[in-house]
Amino acid sequence: MAKRELFWGIMSILVILSAYFIPYTVLTGVERWYGSFLLWILVGVVVIIINLFITRNWRS
């Protein structure tokens, strides 16, 4: 596994862990749309950005 792949792998794991733990800790009391609802959507957007970077050099 190249260093670049390893870096993005670790980033992905961190993002996934945040999707598990933040809603169940910081946001358990935030009964608003900008609580867990927004956080998980942002995680989705970050996942897309990470995938854009990982696949940047895939050519035909």
Partner: protein, 494 residues
């Protein structure tokens, strides 16, 4: 909505999709890779839409909306964890693709058998996939049943819906194998995303706009905006449901097989990014449907009826409701036909082809075509049992499939992995998942997926260390992948 109106919708859908399936034919396919992989020449855009339609179907529009209705925002988190797990395709996609091209693999299971240098590896994983994917197909069929029954207030029965879906799935797979499946999938995916997004915009507008929509939720149903919320999404439940889902893109052969199909890495990239764009919108739409149902129809007995209730409500124009209903039926079918094709290829190539000597491609293909309707009928029987909530059943299937994940990761990253390790981890952990599911036992509150994955990881590592690895094959396989990746993905090369 009247029955005849719905029948017209279904008939138009059948005619259009049969026509598209017919157009997708390209001569008579006599090879396994032609029929099941489109000769590894699928373009990125069609691959992306088809990957989306195969993954997202009755489960999302009926199941995820139902899950949101049942437990609130945790359903979004659950689906986003799956979504994040698709990043695995960014790591494993090029690897599957490279070895698929080099060694000519038709199924991911065949790849594992070759890599671990033992036919029994393929046989065991293929059988496990069949056992766990049939309930998953049944889930899709049940989705169609609930949808038509709910939208016609019982005018068209659950069973009629399930029969239509089963027959169409068989027909679409037969016409041109994966080609007809992927083209009909693409049409359905486009229809679904456009129509369902319009519906959600209408619903939010009808319920007073974004601010009032969430204002109502915050005021009247605040527990639906947090986890554990009303208690449904305890952390243990969340973990149990998401862990197998996180690995869906690797563990489910009907989607991992797709990594063999694109014509180039560029097409693979289009497939992945296209799917992610589609998936995020679709996830959001399905969750917002669930929220709309909470506001409009609190107190439904069965959460899976949330979507049909919305579609037949006064906020959605009947024609649009009909289009979405047909799109959901279509996508449920596209998931089943993809699973049928994959299972047929697994059975023909990895079970039959390995257990009987001297079976040529033609014979394998013939066996595959016989197996497809049998799989469909088994799924039909399962669907008729109407066992549990759609989402819960889907997760149970992924729990069983997830036991092959350590073997898949090991194939590319661990030269010491052995066939005995794979066979022990998949068979014992598969049985463990079955027992936990059947007895509904949850040790420490954790579901079968967590225990299955933990047990398969430990067994794979321990048994592999105790047995002799196929060093020569492992070295050749892994070194080939690494050197090709280095060459193909170096940033400097134009």
């Amino acid at each position: 909505m009247s029955n005849s109106f719905i029948w017209w919708g279904i008939v138009i859908y059948i005619i259009v999709s049969l026509y598209i399936a017919y157009l997708s034919r390209s001569g008579k396919e006599t090879s396994m890779s032609g029929y099941f992989l489109g000769n590894r020449k699928m373009n990125g855009f069609v691959s992306a839409l088809s990957y989306s339609a195969t993954t997202y179907s009755a489960f999302m529009m009926v199941g995820l909306a139902g899950l949101t209705y049942r437990g609130g925002v945790g359903a979004l988190g659950f689906e986003i964890i799956y979504f994040a797990g698709v990043t695995l395709v960014a790591f494993f996609g090029p690897r599957f693709w490279l070895v698929g091209n080099k060694y000519g693999y038709v199924t991911p299971v065949e790849m594992l058998g070759d890599r671990y240098n033992h036919k029994l590896v393929s046989v065991v994983i293929a059988l496990a996939s069949c056992i766990f994917l049939i309930p998953y197909s049944a889930v899709q069929l049940a989705g169609v049943g609930y949808l038509v029954e709910g939208m016609t207030n019982g005018g068209i029965s659950f069973t009629t819906g399930v029969v239509i879906a089963t027959v169409l799935a068989i027909v679409f797979s037969f016409i041109a194998g994966i080609r007809s499946v992927m083209w009909t999938d693409s049409l359905q995916a486009l229809l679904m995303i456009v129509a369902s997004t319009i519906v959600v915009l209408l619903l939010i507008q009808g319920l007073g706009g974004f601010r009032e929509f969430f204002g109502t939720l915050e005021a009247n149903h605040p527990e639906t905006l947090t986890v554990p919320g009303n208690g449904f999404w305890s952390f243990a439940t969340f973990l149990s449901m998401t862990v197998p889902w996180l690995f869906f893109s690797l563990s489910n052969p009907q989607v991992s097989q797709r990594m063999f199909m694109p014509s180039s890495l560029k097409s693979l990239r289009t497939m992945l990014l296209g799917f992610l764009g589609f998936g995020l919108v679709y996830t959001l739409v399905s969750v917002l449907w669930g929220y709309s149902a909470i506001i409009m129809f609190p107190g439904l007995e069965n959460a899976d009826k949330a979507t049909p209730s919305l579609l037949s409500s006064e906020l959605v124009p009947p024609v649009l409701g009909l289009i979405v209903m047909v799109a959901i039926i279509a996508a449920a079918i596209s998931t089943i036909d993809s699973i049928m094709l994959t299972l047929a290829s697994l059975f023909a190539r990895d079970v039959y082809g390995n257990l009987r000597k001297g079976v040529d491609e033609r014979r394998q293909l013939a066996i595959g075509k016989i197996v497809m309707p049998i799989i469909a009928i088994m799924a039909f029987a399962f669907a008729e049992l109407q066992l549990d909530l759609i989402a819960v059943l889907s997760v149970a299937s992924s729990a069983g499939l997830a036991v092959s994940v350590p073997a898949i990761i090991g194939a590319f990253f661990w030269k010491k992995g052995t066939a005995a390790g794979v066979i022990a981890s998949v068979s014992i952990s598969g049985i463990l998942v079955l027992i936990l599911e059947m007895t509904a036992v949850k040790p420490f509150g954790l579901g079968s997926g967590v225990w299955g994955l933990a047990s398969s990881t430990v067994l794979f590592i321990v048994v592999s260390l105790l047995t002799k690895a196929p060093t020569e094959k492992a070295t050749e396989f892994i070194d080939y992948v690494n050197s090709e990746l280095k060459q193909k993905l170096s940033p400097n090369k134009s």
